[in-house]
C-alpha cells in the first residue's frame, strides 16, 4: 500500500487534518451508545476530501468533534486523535477555539440559521475578520467585507452588509456564508451538506462558486454529504461511512468507476438515474454493509513528516 501511495503523494503532501482512530460514545439510560467506532481520515493541503454517508452514519459528528463542539458534553466519551497540522487538538479546547473561524472554518447546510438573526450581516463580517486580525480597523474590515462579497458575485455588497439574514434569499445567504467562511483564508474548510437545502440550479451554482474560491484561497476541504452525485463533481478523494465506520476509501475516480464495498455498491445502485427509465433496484440492508474497510491503491495516509 505504501509503495503504491508513493507515486500519488506529491511534493506538498502535508496533512492539514489528521483524524486517527476517533471514537465517540454517548452514555444513555441503557448503557453506552457507540457512535464512532474508530474513524481515521486525513486531508492533505489543497485537497477536497468527501465524507459521504446516510443520516445517522456519524459524518456530521466527526465535523463537530474537529470543531470542538461536542467535547463539553458530559455524556460523551471521546477517544483517538485529531490533529490540525502537527497540533493535537482533540483534548485541547483552547487550541480548537483559537483555530475556529480563523484556521478552520465551517459552512453549514442551512445558511439562514448559521447567521445570528439579530445582527446585521456587516457586523457579523467584522466580528469574523477580527478573529483573524484583532486590530483591524472598521474601514479596513468594511473594505475586506466588500471584496469578499464581490468574490461571491454579490454585486450590491453594501445592501447585503446592511441586511439581516432574513432579508436575503436562500442562495444569497449561502454565498454570504461562503464569503464569510473564507474571509480569513482558513487552511481547512469543513462544508456540511453545503447547498443541499437549495434548488438544484442554485446548488449547482453555489458548488461551482465554492470550488472556484477554494482554489483561489488554496484552502483544503472536508466535504460532508449524503449526495454521491455532488461528491463525484466536487471531491478529489472520498471516504464512505456506514454506522460510524469508514467502509471504503478511494479517489473519486476510483470510487465511481470501481466501487468495491457492498455498502457503496448498494448506495450507488439505489440512486435514481437520469438516463434510466426504470426505477433503481432496492437492495436490502445486508450484513455485508459492515464488512471491513476497503482502501484503494494510493489513498493511504502519508507517514508523518520526519524532521
Amino acid at each position: 500500500m505504501s509503495v503504491a501511495s508513493a507515486g500519488v503523494v506529491g511534493k506538498d503532501s502535508a496533512v492539514v487534518l489528521g483524524v486517527r482512530n476517533l471514537r465517540l460514545s454517548f452514555s444513555a439510560l441503557r448503557g453506552p451508545v457507540e457512535v464512532l467506532h474508530g474513524v481515521s481520515l486525513h486531508v492533505r493541503r489543497g485537497e477536497k476530501v468527501a465524507l459521504v454517508g446516510e443520516s445517522g452514519s456519524g459524518k456530521s459528528t466527526i465535523a463537530r468533534l474537529v470543531l470542538g463542539l461536542l467535547q463539553d458534553e458530559e455524556v460523551a466519551a471521546i477517544g483517538g486523535s485529531v490533529r490540525l497540522g502537527s497540533r493535537e487538538i482533540l483534548g485541547d479546547q483552547t487550541a480548537i477555539r483559537a483555530a475556529r473561524g480563523d484556521r478552520v472554518a465551517m459552512i453549514f447546510q442551512d445558511a439562514v440559521s448559521a447567521f445570528n438573526p439579530t445582527f446585521l450581516i456587516g457586523d457579523q463580517f467584522r466580528e469574523v475578520l477580527r478573529r483573524g486580525d484583532p486590530k483591524i480597523s472598521n474601514s479596513e474590515a468594511l473594505r475586506r467585507a466588500r471584496a469578499a462579497l464581490a468574490d461571491v458575485y454579490l454585486h450590491e455588497p453594501d445592501r447585503v452588509l446592511g441586511s439581516y439574514v432574513f432579508q436575503l434569499s436562500g442562495g444569497m445567504s449561502q454565498r454570504v456564508m461562503i464569503a464569510l467562511a473564507l474571509a480569513n483564508d482558513p487552511e481547512l474548510l469543513i462544508a456540511d451538506e453545503p447547498g443541499s437545502s437549495l434548488d438544484v440550479t442554485v446548488q449547482a451554482r453555489t458548488l461551482h462558486l465554492m470550488n472556484e474560491l477554494i482554489g483561489r484561497h488554496g484552502a483544503s476541504v472536508l466535504f460532508i454529504s449524503h449526495n454521491l452525485g455532488v461528491v463525484r463533481e466536487f471531491a478529489d478523494r472520498v471516504y464512505v461511512i456506514y454506522r460510524g465506520r469508514i467502509v471504503e476509501h478511494a479517489t473519486a475516480a476510483q470510487l465511481f468507476a470501481d466501487p468495491r464495498h457492498p455498502y457503496t455498491r448498494a448506495l450507488l445502485a439505489a440512486i435514481p438515474k437520469l438516463d434510466r427509465t426504470r426505477l433503481p433496484d432496492t437492495p436490502e440492508t445486508s450484513p455485508s454493509f459492515a464488512d471491513p474497510l476497503i482502501e484503494h491503491a494510493g489513498c493511504s495516509e502519508p507517514p508523518p513528516a520526519s524532521a
Binding site: S55, V202, A204, H226, A266, L268, A270, I271, P272, K273
Partner: protein, 274 residues
Amino acid sequence: MSEMFLSVERVTKRFRSAGRDVTALDDVSIAVERGECHAIIGESGSGKSTLGGLILGLYEPTSGLVRFKGEALSKRRPLRLKRAIQLIQQNPLSALNSRRTVGQSVRLALDVHNIGERSHRGALVAKLLGEVGLPADYAGRSPQGLSGGERQRIAIARALACEPELLVLDEPTSALDVLVQARVLQLLARIRRQHGLTYLFITHDLAVVRGVADRVSVFQKGRLIETGSTDEIFAAPQDVYTRRLLAAIPVVSEEEAKFRDRFRAEIDVEEAED
C-alpha cells in the same frame, strides 16, 4: 365520450403576503388521464405545491376551475371526493398524529369513511400494514419511534385505507436516505399497478421523475413551462429552463454524465448566442 380524469383549467391562484399580491399559479392548465403518473416538476416558488393544495381543496382558485371526473372541485366538497383524493407529504411525521398509535391513525381513516364492517376493521388495518411491508404489530406503536421510511409507509397505508383514486404525492421521498427512497419508490409503483391508481407526483428531482412518471409538467414561477410524455421531455426538452434543470443535476456515472452534458452543451450554445 371520454371525460378527463383530472383537469386543471386556466387556474390562477394569488395569495396576499406582506401586503403584496403574490401569484402562485398563473393561468395553468393540465390534463391528467386515469391511471397515469403525472409528474409536476419545479423548484421552490414554482407553484407546484399550490397546485396540489388546490386539487386537495386546501384553497380555492382565484380564477379557473379544477375538475375531477368532470365534476368541479371546490374547497367545500362532499366526503366521497375527499376520500377519492389523498395526499402523501414530504414529512410523514407531521402528517401523523403522534398521540395516536399507528393502528389508530390508519383505523381513523376507515372509520371516517365508513369502510368495511366495523368488526373487520382491525384485520383491515393489519392487511394495509402488510401491503406497505410492515408487520401487523406496528399497529400498536407510536410513529415517533419509527424511521422516516417506516413513517412514510404508514402514511401510504392510511391513504390506501380510503380506497382512493388519485394520490397527490408532494416530494414523497425527498427527506429519505437513498436506500430508503429506492424502496419507497418501488412500493409506490407496485401500489399504483395493483390498485389502478392515478398519481400526481410533485417533485424537484428529475432523476426520480425519469423512473416513475408517464407524463411531466414543468413549472417555473407559477407558470407551466412545458408538458409532455416523460420520454419526450428527456429526449428533447423544448424550454431552456427545463434544459437548465436537467443540466444542473449531479450524477454518479459516466453514462449518466454523457446524457446530462448534452443539455449543458445546449445551454452553453444558447448563452453564447445571447
